[in-house]
Symmetry: D2
Subunit: 270 residues, 4 copies
Amino acid sequence: MSDIPTDAEAVSGWWRTSIIDMAPGKIAFRGRPVEELIGNVSFAQMIWLMTRGELPDAGQAALLEAALVAGVDHGPQAPSIAAARMAATCGVGLNNAMATAVNMLGDVHGGAGEQCAELYYGIAALMDAGADLPQAVPSGLDNWRSRHGKIVSGFGHRFHKPVDPRAPRLMALVREAAEAGVVSGRFAEIGETVQAELARQRGGRPIAMNIDGATAVIFCELGFEAPLSRGLFCLSRSVGVLAHAWEQTQQGGRNKGPMPPKFLPRYEGE
Amino acid sequence: MSDIPTDAEAVSGWWRTSIIDMAPGKIAFRGRPVEELIGNVSFAQMIWLMTRGELPDAGQAALLEAALVAGVDHGPQAPSIAAARMAATCGVGLNNAMATAVNMLGDVHGGAGEQCAELYYGIAALMDAGADLPQAVPSGLDNWRSRHGKIVSGFGHRFHKPVDPRAPRLMALVREAAEAGVVSGRFAEIGETVQAELARQRGGRPIAMNIDGATAVIFCELGFEAPLSRGLFCLSRSVGVLAHAWEQTQQGGRNKGPMPPKFLPRYEGE
Amino acid sequence: MSDIPTDAEAVSGWWRTSIIDMAPGKIAFRGRPVEELIGNVSFAQMIWLMTRGELPDAGQAALLEAALVAGVDHGPQAPSIAAARMAATCGVGLNNAMATAVNMLGDVHGGAGEQCAELYYGIAALMDAGADLPQAVPSGLDNWRSRHGKIVSGFGHRFHKPVDPRAPRLMALVREAAEAGVVSGRFAEIGETVQAELARQRGGRPIAMNIDGATAVIFCELGFEAPLSRGLFCLSRSVGVLAHAWEQTQQGGRNKGPMPPKFLPRYEGE
Amino acid sequence: MSDIPTDAEAVSGWWRTSIIDMAPGKIAFRGRPVEELIGNVSFAQMIWLMTRGELPDAGQAALLEAALVAGVDHGPQAPSIAAARMAATCGVGLNNAMATAVNMLGDVHGGAGEQCAELYYGIAALMDAGADLPQAVPSGLDNWRSRHGKIVSGFGHRFHKPVDPRAPRLMALVREAAEAGVVSGRFAEIGETVQAELARQRGGRPIAMNIDGATAVIFCELGFEAPLSRGLFCLSRSVGVLAHAWEQTQQGGRNKGPMPPKFLPRYEGE
């Protein structure tokens, strides 16, 4: 290539990637021929390979898999699931119903894991700079809240009180993995210290670590950058979205609204 | 419950589901407590459980996993991947970028697997009604084309000629699974006979079985209803979508268009 | 240009358009400089210009405007509006909330206008081929139902019985426009005859012409191709979507579900 | 209503709105029967009514209309337009193609108007607190940049240099409207002073006021809250999106990628 790219080079270079290499009859992901991956790596390993560039070992893959399994669904009271089910009655494809739901996994709904990972990494950075855990946690919380506000992503659940059943199970798996040397266990400690600190700040009332708080521990232990916490949650929740959209399709209905037709929204104008 | 539901019953009943059962501190999917699933089933098994209602055995799960791995990505020349990458430069969340792509996996792009499954099931129905394979395939193709048009979903690839590297590998795994008694092998035979018939109709020019044609064989072998072929493909492709949206985020850019800015669309008005 | 396009020509030609012509400092739509359009044409005229290629006269623009005004909203019981309001509480942008709603205006929800326009054009085609109106309407209905099923798009409303208040007003405007020579009035007659025929087929029970049936009359009178009925409805309904998403934003809420949190979906598994 | 709402009241109250009032046979927007609006208000007036609660006078409506006309399209090099056109070839509905584009009008692409309105309102607030315009503009810019970064939304255009043809025309209309007493002209002055200050900061090199900067002037003059700048832009750009999706539909194509198939993305892995 000369210093001045040709038009063809400019066009190809506009869409440069290290993920996939193709030629007629050839597909390789991250340098590995697709036909060697098919049948030899799990779906969870493939997710890791595509987003990280190399394959995880078995212990890492198992931990990622646990997090992906844990987040698949939280039922039709979640706005994303409700929207997917309503979309499935509006005459669009199943892919459109799925997209409708994933689109709603924003900063408040599905982005909580990303924000929680930022909190954990922020605390870890304070520790790397010399703070010990009991200092780093309240400082990290303060820093985080100055950017994101009072409500701490990853903790508290309006429904599962005092315990979200997914969190203790996930944390136990992290502890096991730490003992086996798969991960360091550092972020499990950070997460649980945050949980304790939040309870202390609430005058001793316990607060649940929720699904975002627990999966963020795992994603941080495994070294995923914070925004990928959101992305991985989207992959996980897409499973529940598909199941619900499909169940609704089988139940039927046309233009399903949020509540039975006999109820009308309350008009509050003059 | 009396014959006339109360308002509360009417509201709850509007959102009825067999997928998830919840109470404070309790989440169960298809009757199984989430904490028993986490760490004990793979992500692919969880996909099966959520969409089908029961857990697959190991052989079934492995075959599903192979199909999910095979479809993750086909690079930025695919409109869905390009759109996800462009979206990632427009100041939206990673979930919005992912939704943008999944939304585009419509009848032509991601729905091909669904249509191909319809073709295979249609041929199988003709055989159930007494036709033998050599009769059922051309008849099934005729029936299918009268509904969907001339281009047969699942076969042919504008880029991978004459062979899409994913298909033979997937078909080999189906054959192995059939020998092991995991599946019947019936749809592998149907798929390959369709491929041969299409070549015959083209005057002997071979035609590739593409990713949709091969994964539809697997989904039919495993008993997934046709629309789920599309849904499962969406789950699979979401992985590539995430990887590309994330790579683009790291590459940077603002309002990335489809081609370098120095090229302008051609104006064809008067 | 030689017979073989250069790479630059190939790239530009991949994105050819008759809609917009640009150069640095220059933007023209359908051959008209943007600075001449701004301040001189209405938004409705601009919609016409962009989708049709030329400007409408004042009478045509007024009729289009009436249809656009009529369809802006039908409240939060419509799944699209509910989804937009829920999305607005999930931490996504207002544009994402709007997209969520428009995405749900599919074949059943927002595509009804398109299907109804197909019905009307089909009847008109029968009349062009020699049938008179009393023959063409039942024949056209039969043809349409063989493709789309029993429920006739554009007629009937589960809520507004026996009259949807938008339809008579729109039809009166069409009649006025026909008297003034702006349109032919042909599709008003077709629409009303369809309505009467459907009532007859129901044993004399009257059936409402709904918003899709009435706006399709207008779009056909104005010569818009059937798929544009859906597109124009999307433009119109986007206004209500924006208003509701914004109202919800001001009301606040986080992860708003479809019903108050105290109600749970009904679990119907074993 | 007693102090404790019934279930029916709770459900209705979950979806409270001041926008629309409905009963069988009745639809009223912001207190006005739909049949009185149809045929009597323009589409632009309806947009104002729905988002603001009352009707604008003729001068206000004309200015809103000018802004809506100005923003309809900027061609297929805009990622939103490209994505809509690609979606239109993927076998999804026109509504899905439109949603794909609107979904991409995020903070960088369509949200620029919102951010620019925040800048203008911030400067106005400094003036309300006693600063004069020459002080308020650099201070307001500093405040804004500390939240949003160096690149000032609403100014500069990578293509239209030195002048975006839409801005001077829109500003002239604002000046006319200010002379006629329709608006104050305050934000026109703020906008132009920002433009001059940015040029000064660049060592005297002029910088274009772009479409977002000019329409934000209008939306602020008319009293729209900042987030509605994004929403109104989405309504405006939806017109171009529809026109392009429809043009692409008529051109045909299947799974249209971002560049001609002969070009491949550049693989940059090892």
